[in-house]
């Protein structure tokens, strides 16, 4: 344990970077995923095809490959991203494909009568989506989005492979220095839990809050 305690600043540094990576990628993934979900349910065929292509491409290739592409691949076409930025984009776009699918399912679960009532009053398609469909769809989608947020948090560890000094990267550094492998990775796991357990609790509370209106 002394090996771990000595290197605590490294762990905490890594934890902070992990948190930044997770929060940044989550915000971006939710925004992009919602837009892609709207493409997927669009009345226009071209938009639906574009949305489907996006989802299939990003969902069906490994995260590690995508991250290598952003960080090590793009420089070959003249775009050099810092490791942190590349990893964040990789995580965000990868996760956005799953967000889009969850959100699409949520949108499709809204009863058609809701859309008819909104359109019958003269609301436009976009207003109907924004004011009537999406608020209900998001509330329904909170549990699967919570799962995705947890998966995303854990997936930040992949960024260690592209040299982002997040928690997993720092754990490897400590391990190489001290050979206290057992303690190092035990503590690392505990630190990931310290992020993900509160996240699960938060999701449960959010779910409760957002679905309040459904029951009397």
């Amino acid at each position: 344990m002394p090996a771990v305690v000595q290197n605590l600043p490294l762990f905490l540094d890594g934890l902070r970077t992990t948190l930044q990576l997770a929060v940044g990628a989550l915000v971006l993934a939710l925004a992009v995923g919602t837009l892609v979900a709207l493409l997927r349910v669009s009345p226009l065929g071209v938009l639906r095809v574009a949305g489907t292509a996006y989802v299939e491409f990003l969902r069906n290739t490994p995260l590690l490959v995508q991250m290598f592409f952003w960080v090590f691949g793009l420089p070959f076409v003249g775009v050099v991203l810092p490791e942190f930025g590349g990893a964040l984009l990789g995580l965000a776009f990868y996760t956005s494909a799953f967000v889009a699918e969850a959100m699409r399912a949520g949108i499709l679960s809204i009863q058609h009568g809701q859309i008819e009532a909104a359109r019958a009053m003269g609301l436009s398609y976009v207003q109907t989506m924004r004011l009537v469909v999406l608020p209900q769809a998001i509330a329904i989608t909170v549990p699967p989005l919570g799962n995705l947020a947890i998966a995303l948090t854990k997936n930040t560890s992949v960024a260690s492979a592209v040299l982002v000094p997040e928690l997993m990267y720092q754990a490897e550094v400590v391990n190489a220095r001290t050979f206290a492998t057992y303690e190092t990775f035990f503590v690392t796991a505990a630190l990931y839990l310290a992020l993900t357990i509160p996240l699960s609790r938060l999701v449960a509370r959010l779910e409760h809050r957002l679905t309040r209106f459904r029951s009397a």
Partner: protein, 251 residues
Amino acid sequence: MAEQGCDGIICFRDVHKWFGRLHVLRGVELTIDYGEKVVIAGPSGSGKSTLLRCINRLEPIQQGELIVDGQRVDESHADINRLRSKIGMVFQHFNLFPHLTVLENITLAPRYVLKMPRAEAEEKARGLLDRVHIPEKASAYPAQLSGGQQQRVAIARALAMDPKIMLFDEPTSALDPEMIKEVLDVMRALAQARGMTMVVVTHEMGFAREVADRMVFMADGVIVEQAPTDEFFSSPQEERTKQFMSRILHH
């Protein structure tokens, strides 16, 4: 409007509609006058709800002409959102927005379609809630209301746009028997308003008899018979109408 060849507020001219291969409206001819109260009756599957839903283009028609308030609804360039804002619709299953309070349900369209200031829209909504006899439910969510209350909110929501035309699609069919009256009472009061055109699809023949200026009877996608209400009930002409009436009145 005269140049469209429609001297009423709603004109169906040889209107046809198909659902896939199913021919659900087979040449409907119907003119509804300004301010007229029309009840459409008929067996289920006769196309009466479809007919109603064509009026605000929830269902597009495939053949014929449909003119509503001087506009050709069947033409794709019609400003359908503008037209719809003048047509209120009440659905069988209420279709209130469950994530919004009663007040928010009623003010949504005035605020976002008519761009009415929030305070004004809310004041108007409260007035409408008085009119449908549930002023105390302004901040409730739809799930906290009974079916009859939900339908009355839905009526208030439709009225919030000051519609020229109100469409009712079997408004009491999903209600428990003890709640039907409270909804029909609100509709009766509404029918007193001179200017408003009402088109009601319903099986409530007592209500129809009291409120309708004219009865329209449909079967198999065509209008079998239409007549002033008294005439329709006292001396129906067509065999199918008589059959239907005897079934619905003596069950």
